[in-house]
């Protein structure tokens, strides 16, 4: 696949549309569904050989594993959180240029890695 453009604009007015098209929310129309399916057509699905156990549904005996919330032990970088808090508190206009530069650098590096 060819490399994507470094920065792809995302209209803020259509954010939910894009969240639904990319798997963060569920699709509610055909366009979102078609985008979604196209985006993930080469995805390496771990469950590709799994089937639905019809009998377990009809008999009401669906197997459940122990409930685990994987984020409970999540380590979150304080530096990131402080940056976010500052940006959230002050608004975009007050985000220092060096943070914007750092953010763009990270974004561009990641886009090229992808």
């Amino acid at each position: 696949m060819s490399k994507p453009k470094k920065i792809q604009k995302l209209a803020l007015d259509h954010l939910d549309d894009w969240f639904a098209s990319t798997g963060f929310l569920y699709p509610v129309n055909e366009i979102q569904l078609e985008r979604f399916d196209k985006l993930y057509e080469d995805y390496d699905f771990k469950l590709k050989d799994e089937r639905i156990d019809v009998n377990s549904i009809i008999s009401g005996s669906i197997k459940r594993s122990k409930i685990v919330f994987p984020w409970k032990e999540e380590v979150f970088e304080e530096e990131n959180f402080e940056t976010l808090r500052m940006a959230a508190r002050k608004g975009q206009g007050e985000v220092p240029q060096h943070i914007i530069d750092k953010m763009l650098k990270k974004h561009n590096n990641k886009s090229l890695d992808d």
Partner: protein
């Protein structure tokens, strides 16, 4: 037990045309039935369990690949394992078995199978949002259930199919969203998308859902509000800055 095929055949052929032996030997070919008819058979499960079971088996066969895949992707976004994704898939089909309430007249696609899938995705998402409250499939209330919220909105308007972007552009859009989320913890993401899913439909997040979030994430309500505010502002700021640079 009386078989449903008798009624089906009575409607198709004059009664004198088939004798009892023929009726008993006649099999409904569920593989050839449209999905809406499979759902109708499923809805008769109290009276005709055998036929409903066969219809449900075919229904699962028809849609399991798509539903399991979608479940895997959504669960991945919430940092849930594939084991959870498979359980959520089973719970989704269990809801269909219990409530086969798809209404063709409210289908969001002229292609009925796509319409059925668009009806099932909110079921998956509801199961994910409510996952973990109990060690069984979630039984959402009306205010929690995305299917009912969606249903109340009725048909979606005009769809411009020609506007579907190329895969490269889609991949880049996904990359932008992932970059915006990268600085957020999973707790931020879960709160953000749970709120967003309800707010998209113009609803407030139901109180049982916020209670469940508090418990699952070990946060106070004040912290949840803060996490949401931080996530929302960060994403907006991030995208605004990127849009200006693009």
């Amino acid at each position: 037990m009386e078989t449903l095929s008798i009624h089906i055949l009575e409607q198709t052929y004059p009664f004198w045309y088939i004798n009892e032996k023929q009726v008993l030997e006649e099999q409904i070919n569920f593989k050839k039935l449209p999905s809406t008819e499979l759902l109708e058979y499923i809805s008769f499960k109290d009276e005709y369990l055998e036929e409903a079971t066969q219809a449900f088996t075919e229904f699962c066969f028809r849609f399991e690949r798509d539903i399991i895949s979608k479940s895997e992707i959504y669960c991945n976004k919430y940092n849930y394992s594939e084991v959870v994704a498979l359980e959520i898939s089973h719970c989704t089909f269990a809801r269909v078995w219990k409530y086969p309430t798809f209404k063709p007249e409210k289908s969001k696609s002229k292609d009925i199978d796509k319409g059925v899938l668009l009806w099932m995705y909110p079921i998956i998402y509801t199961q994910i949002v409510k996952y973990g409250e109990q060690n069984s499939c979630a039984e959402p209330t009306e205010e929690e259930d995305f299917v009912i919220i969606e249903d109340s909105k009725g048909l979606i308007g005009h769809l411009n199919i020609d506007s579907i972007e190329k895969k490269r552009e889609l991949t880049a859009k996904l990359g932008t969203i992932e970059s915006a989320l990268r600085m957020l913890s999973f707790k931020h993401r879960i709160i953000y998308f749970t709120y967003r899913a309800y707010q998209r439909d113009g609803k407030k997040v139901p109180r049982p859902i916020t209670n469940a979030l508090r418990e699952k994430l070990s946060l106070t309500q004040k912290s949840i509000n803060t996490y949401y505010g931080v996530a929302d502002k960060h994403i907006i700021n991030y995208l605004k800055i990127l849009n200006e640079q693009a």
